[in-house]
Amino acid sequence: MSADLSELYQQVILDHNKRPRNRGRLPAANRVAHGDNPSCGDQCSVYLRMDGDRIGDISFDGSGCAISQASASLMTTLLKGRSSAEAAELYKNFHEIVTTGKEPEEISDIAAFAGVHAFPARIKCATLGWHAAIEALKGGPNVTTESHTD
């Protein structure tokens, strides 16, 4: 297996893909948004229970490749308890990592996604769940990763 490919499919990613965290519909959710990746039909719904401006609880559901599933799973573990502003900041970091391959400033499992940048077509997979979460925080119902400037 090439270096690029083993960078892409790191242990953290394979683990989240096999045993996704916070998967399924959150019964007490008061926000939900749905993400589509129209190129491949992948989908991801994100459920939030907001306590004021904080994410009290979060889950995701849907289907997709290892990258998109692992990313959504890891995301739920990172966002729980955060405010919208903190979530936006985390997404900014994550987006930078997957598009540039730059290491994160703090030690974090997010680093596992740095390998994505060598596979530009997979960036949309890695950001699908995050797009849905940000949309849910804004109160929107639908989001597609297919916006041209993405």
Binding site: M1, S2, L5, L8, Y9, L14, N17, S39, C40, G41, D42, Q43, S63, G64, C65, A66, I67, S68, Q69, F119, R122, C125
Partner: protein
């Protein structure tokens, strides 16, 4: 019998490494590669004969017009149309179907009418009909596909009852790009024709892979793309029965399609010019003519046999992979040159990424066939599709690669 090994030499693109491995191109249903003679025809046209067609009286314009109209005649012969005026050049299958849906639909559909499609249609033979239905008030109806893995093909038992008097037009694919199913187009056309229903065939996947005779099929319209048949991108055609075409309003307006323009009204030329507004893509049309020659040189019966044999072999070998779900007909006689499959625990994107690592080009996703995928409980499949230059050895490489991928993800 063509020598299939020599054929690879005709295709410059095949002789390269991808990720350090020889390229194994199995994405032919998305687009086929081009033989040297087609690429050279195109360059030579630009180097020697290029000029705008039809309205010119100088030497280059005459040569360009002859080459362009010669390509029309060549394409007409390729599909055995009675008259070259029945061949309208378009960008490809999608534009051809939009042209029929918009132009024929606008003149012939009204509230209460039904457009019959099948559940296995590509978005390009589905969305244009949704658009014209919304405009005219007609509604859509679908012929079901049978079997949990769509192995049963179209439900012909219910077809006659679906072809009720409200049905005005029946559009269906010749070969499914996501299942590999070859539909019984002669029978489908005959049943529709018996009820006076107009037929439209999406020939994107059949045109380069088997003999196509629009008069033997007895369809009213037949749409296809050049780029899926060893021709270049940007050109395709719509075949239409002359009598239907002559009664249709224009699709796009502009230069070349009018017989007279006033500030407030215009009159149209007959087909094909009526439907070819603006400067046509004449250079790519000329290259399409060369692609027809190339494929007929190999023999389309032979191509069909070659592709189907590879698909049968692939189907058989893929079936040995643990957990694989193979879609489409189990009977090789009903299957064209592609195999579509899914694994329960590995997503198509991951499969395709791992294949690319070994230089193998596959396609993963819904293949523009979302509603069908949803019915099968899938978001997508992985597809290997074959053409004249593919070999049995490449299938072995594919199967070995997939086995490795499965092992990586499922332990």
């Amino acid at each position: 019998m063509p020598n299939w090994n020599d054929i690879r030499r005709d295709f410059p693109i095949l002789h390269q490494q991808v990720n350090g491995k020889p390229l194994v191109y199995l994405d032919n249903a998305a687009t086929a590669q081009k033989p040297r003679v087609v690429i050279d025809t195109l360059s030579r046209f630009y180097e020697r004969d290029n000029a705008n067609v039809h309205r010119g009286l100088h030497a280059l314009s005459n040569r360009a017009t002859d080459a362009f109209e010669g390509a029309r005649t060549r394409v007409a012969k390729f599909i055995n149309a009675a008259d070259s005026a029945e061949v309208i050049f378009t960008r490809g299958t999608t534009e051809s179907i939009n042209l029929v849906a918009a132009s024929w639909g606008e003149a012939n559909l009204k509230k209460g009418d039904v457009i019959l499609l099948t559940e296995m249609e590509h978005h390009s033979n589905l969305v244009p009909w949704q658009l014209i239905a919304a405009r005219t008030g007609a509604t859509l109806r679908y012929v079901p596909v049978l079997g949990a893995n769509a192995e049963g093909g179209l439900d012909l038992a219910v077809l006659d009852s679906l072809l009720s008097p409200e049905v005005k037009i029946f559009a269906f694919t010749h070969i499914s790009n996501s299942l590999g199913t070859i539909n019984p187009v002669v029978e489908l056309c005959a049943r529709a024709r018996a009820r006076g229903i107009v037929t439209v065939i999406d020939g994107a996947q059949s045109i380069g892979h088997m003999p196509v005779d629009v008069r033997a099929i007895d369809c009213d319209f037949f749409a296809f793309s050049g780029h899926k048949m060893a021709g270049v991108t940007g050109i395709g055609a719509l075949y239409g029965r002359r009598a239907l075409l002559d009664a249709m309003p224009p699709y796009q307006g502009g230069g070349g399609m009018i017989s007279n323009v006033d500030f407030f009204t215009s009159r149209w030329k007959p087909s094909p010019e009526r439907f070819e507004a603006g400067t046509p893509n004449f250079a790519d049309a000329v290259a399409l003519g060369a692609a027809c020659d190339y494929l007929d040189g190999l023999g389309r019966e032979q191509i069909a046999k070659h592709d189907a044999e590879l698909a049968a072999l692939a189907y058989q070998k893929l079936a040995t992979l643990p957990g694989i779900r193979l879609l489409g007909p189990t009977d090789p006689a009903l299957r064209s040159g592609l195999v579509s499959f899914a694994f329960p625990d590995v997503h198509a994107h991951d499969v395709v990424t791992f294949a690319d690592e070994d230089g193998i080009a596959l396609r993963g996703g819904h293949h523009c066939n979302q509603p069908m995928m949803r019915k099968l409980g899938l978001t997508g499949t992985t597809r290997a599709s074959f053409y004249v230059y593919n070999t049995p050895e490449e299938i072995d490489l594919l199967v070995a690669n997939l086995a490795k991928t499965l092992k990586f993800f499922t332990g």
